[in-house]
Symmetry: C3
Subunit: 318 residues, 3 copies
């Protein structure tokens, strides 16, 4: 249970609320630190004492399997003590305000608070009011910074860099916190980002974020180094933004034939959970170019890195 070789760090940020706040150097530091932690998950004994005796609160006001379990695993592998809360059954259901719940939880002296919430801005508000470090695990359609960081980590593993890569992101651009965080990160790091999707799912003036917009998937995929497919959130808006899932697949679903427009060594990503046959064919999802399961594995290492770095700022050692 020896500590991994962690880079000499200068990290002073108490919270990770969004990618928009981070500098290029901070993003690189997180990715370099994640490199060191990735090795821990491959050991026979997958545990280091790095956060021993630290308390982490996991506040998930929206259901989540992969993000919640990825954070929980990162916490356990760092030897932190974790406390879990979900929206239902909490004091909130007794009419207490979110800020009172948060203050009460803070009175118990947690070191870090992980929060997922349906309303954008909630992690930001908590970060301002709490002394604990706050990590945004997804707020409405706003940001999901650790997802963008694990995506970047995965791209860097395969391509050795982010700068200069052609990255195409496909799907519901307007309602996705994943795409928003990814655009912030990729543009900052010098990638060329194209977003593609139906007009009903494209936010107004998205070009101002520094991306190219396309409404034609074949055109958007041409010469891409990275193809990032987004989940169609069937359970949220269902049929209202497109006539049918079959039509969606015909226009914006990723198939092997379409993928041939991209570079030969292009990789295919998806934040999960996938709708096979809606936004992606099973052949592509399970194909050689898919790095979808690597994204999941990398998520644990990236979250270990973020937890570690924020805990440094907590101790005033950063």
């Amino acid at each position: 249970m020896s500590e991994p070789a962690i880079p000499e760090v200068t990290w002073t940020r108490k919270d990770l609320v969004g990618i928009a706040d981070l500098s290029v150097e901070e993003i690189e530091l997180i990715l370099d630190t994640a490199d060191s932690f990735q090795e821990v998950s491959q050991r026979s004994i997958k545990k280091v004492p790095t956060l021993r005796g630290k308390t982490v609160l996991n506040l998930f006001f929206e259901p989540s399997t992969r993000t919640r379990s990825s954070f929980e695993l990162a916490e356990k592998r760092l030897s932190a003590d974790a406390l879990n809360f979900s929206g239902s059954g909490s004091a909130l259901s007794k009419g207490e305000s979110l800020i009172d719940t948060a203050r009460n939880l803070e009175a118990m002296a947690p070191d870090l608070v992980i929060i997922r919430h349906q309303h954008p801005g909630v992690p930001h508000m908590l970060a301002q009011r709490l002394e604990s470090g706050v990590i945004n695990a997804g707020d409405g359609a706003h940001e999901h910074p650790t997802q963008a960081l694990l995506d970047a980590f995965t791209i860097r593993q395969h391509k050795g860099r982010l700068a200069g890569l052609a990255v195409t992101i496909v799907g519901d651009i307007e309602h996705s916190r994943v795409v928003r965080s990814n655009i912030h990160l990729l543009v900052k790091m010098g990638a060329q980002v194209t977003v593609a999707g139906p007009r009903t799912m494209m936010p107004a003036a998205v070009e101002k974020l520094g991306v190219r917009v396309s409404y034609d998937l074949d055109e958007a995929l041409t010469d891409a180094d990275v193809v990032m497919m987004l989940r169609v959130q069937l359970e949220r808006h269902g049929q209202s933004l497109f006539p049918s899932t079959r039509e969606y697949f015909q226009l914006f679903g990723l198939t092997q034939a379409r993928l041939a427009q991209a570079k030969d060594d292009a990789i295919v990503m998806h934040p999960g959970p996938m709708n096979r046959g809606v936004e992606i064919s099973s052949a592509v999802a399970d194909g050689k170019t898919s790095v979808i399961l690597e994204q999941v594995a990398n998520g644990v290492a990236v979250r270990m890195a973020v937890l570690y770095l924020l805990s440094l700022a907590q101790q005033g050692d950063g």
Copy 2:
């Protein structure tokens, strides 16, 4: 991770079912032990090996954020292994009796069982039947002993003593387990207790518990050292016991103006979750005299003390 300096103790009680059972010496021993444990939550490494390898079952048959998380945190900071059960999804929903569920859980050799239940007397029944130590985390409108202990701990921190203090408790006296445990404790320790609230929320013959009764908040607050506001349980009886929350606030809500009746150095307490603008104004809740968040912080230390003392009795070392 050194052990705190815990007082030399003589503790023989297997269970903590109610304050009514405790002697003055036992109450003082818990509060003194909590003093020692409070320091642990302020360390950088918030963990001691005191209950390492001990198993604690958390049985919460009523929803709870703060009491459950306070116990869980106390268990983790003492290095105990904790198992959580809630009412739903348990064998009880398959029609098993509570006592069979408890016996089955006991067969797994837990050292301590924490129970919250909607029916008064359930913790007492379990304590009689189980060899494990049993801690009542709230039973119906009966008792909530660790809440009264953390309230007493908080008062002692600010006033240096309990004996001789004028304590005014305001709200739904009849349906509150918090007030019942607090009256038992405060009267035992020599405080002068006044209870105030609407006639519809005042139990018959409450004077027999050794308290003064008032139906006028201004009168009840006069020269108080401690003001303890109770939660109006809107989700339980709602509008039936009073015409409206606005009228409740006008008659029994604590405002800065009303608080002026109390002593200059009076402290304001609330067990949470608060209904701001119903039983307490935001100005008072967040004001200088409020010790509400300290109560939450102290809860962890007091529960660590109770878990530690009961575990001594389990080992026959007491």
Copy 3:
């Protein structure tokens, strides 16, 4: 926290999906290993470092109190890191397929996956597709191997052997995964098994499994060494397979009078949760010959043994 004296083992199986797959030697090895682990639960410090830094996923798609908590406790007492998932609130509710959920979880590099699922065959499918070790914690009416192993462990403690014993199993033979696993195990180990119950609860051609069938409880109990009562699953089929619980009790409920048909030193078992007054009288359930609570206690030791043995195969040390 010293390690128990574990037998020198040769175990190569990655998964425990069903008793049907196990050899006599493998069953004996599990029971012998459980002997060693049982001592841990009787220590003052109930914990060994055996699975330190190993990750265990508990996937319970059906509600469970005793099996889930027994596994969780076994994991904690072996110092494993455990992650819990239930059916609701998971990605499955977003329409993801079970196999995608499993692959995603596997990407996080768990060492072992415990699964309970309403559909028979799900643990088998996971075992084939995942590199992690998979333990079936109950799949539909198919198998529940750790239950049969803890039953065998309990019988062996009382009788010193399994071979040659007369074991009578009573109740809903058709819909019980417990009885299926028990028949496989007991027949393999050389016991004489009689199954008894109403005709509506008896599967066709059950004799082919090597058991004797009886529709008369008194006859079935005659000279039994072990009587194993099954739970009537009132919440599943209710009144459809028998006219009333009273009539069921009259025909197939175990009473002291009926138990007199069995051998003087016969033991009475039940996998729980019990319906007192339906399949068993309280006098028998709580009587001297009942080993029902011992079954629960033994479940933790048997599950510790299974977790330990499968982790050996994971490491390639087996």
